[in-house]
Symmetry: C2
Subunit: 126 residues, 2 copies
Amino acid sequence: MSKPAALTTVEPDQDAPCCPPLAENRIPAETAAVLAPAFKALGDPIRLQLMSMIASAPGGEACVCDLTPAFDLSGPTISHHLKALREAGLVDAERRASWVYYRARPGLMRRLATLLTVSDPDTAQH
Amino acid sequence: MSKPAALTTVEPDQDAPCCPPLAENRIPAETAAVLAPAFKALGDPIRLQLMSMIASAPGGEACVCDLTPAFDLSGPTISHHLKALREAGLVDAERRASWVYYRARPGLMRRLATLLTVSDPDTAQH
DNA sequence: GCTCGGTTTCGATAACTGTCGAAACCAAGA
DNA sequence: TCTTGGTTTCGACAGTTATCGAAACCGAGC
């Protein structure tokens, strides 16, 4: 590994063919291994809020300089959480001038949402 | 605490009014604090598979005796993971005769799915 | 009541995570 | 080039988690 110059976005098979809901078929171990890290990344209140702030930001992107002061945490700690979201493939980072902007990657989010989809009890047809 | 007789199902505000998608409004800290533990519970490959096996089981319920041998892990370890899902409010457990059956709680799952919903790029109207 | 099979709890241990301050890095401007 | 402000990385520490074997628990059946 030749020092990938920071801000790398690891993407866990971002564009894989989308998965049927969790409740329809037993998901294979490989799929679980790929998707669990994304849920794990969302499994922290700070990261969940960060994700929401980024995804709901006007223009679809949020500056770290806006994210950091929204929490009672140090800069390094916020950076650490953002890195976790990045490595989970949930967000992308881009540096422009002095600031770094984060943007949500809807692909994986959509895949997770589909996985959790539960058939409506009324329209269910097992 | 007077020994709650095992198999307690802690439910994190299961029937709270459902939340708008993560990408539409910045979610408040309280909501994040309530929902993050559920994502965290799904953030482990074993638990994700367990959840899938339970939710997709015929009749909507799965016996621990069927779940345990599906993994190369000890009984106590599987029980530990099931407890995590229980405490996250994702599943319910019921003992019938000698066996314990697990059943998915669709309410919270639906809430999580809604939270992750991303508006389709085509039909988006920001 | 005693035993037995299934399941959970307990106690221990190794590995991981969240947090911080210090240091390094990077782009902009003086 | 030097400084400055924004961001990430490093190193450390406390708290949490995954895993196991042993022990306890709980119904069923003898």
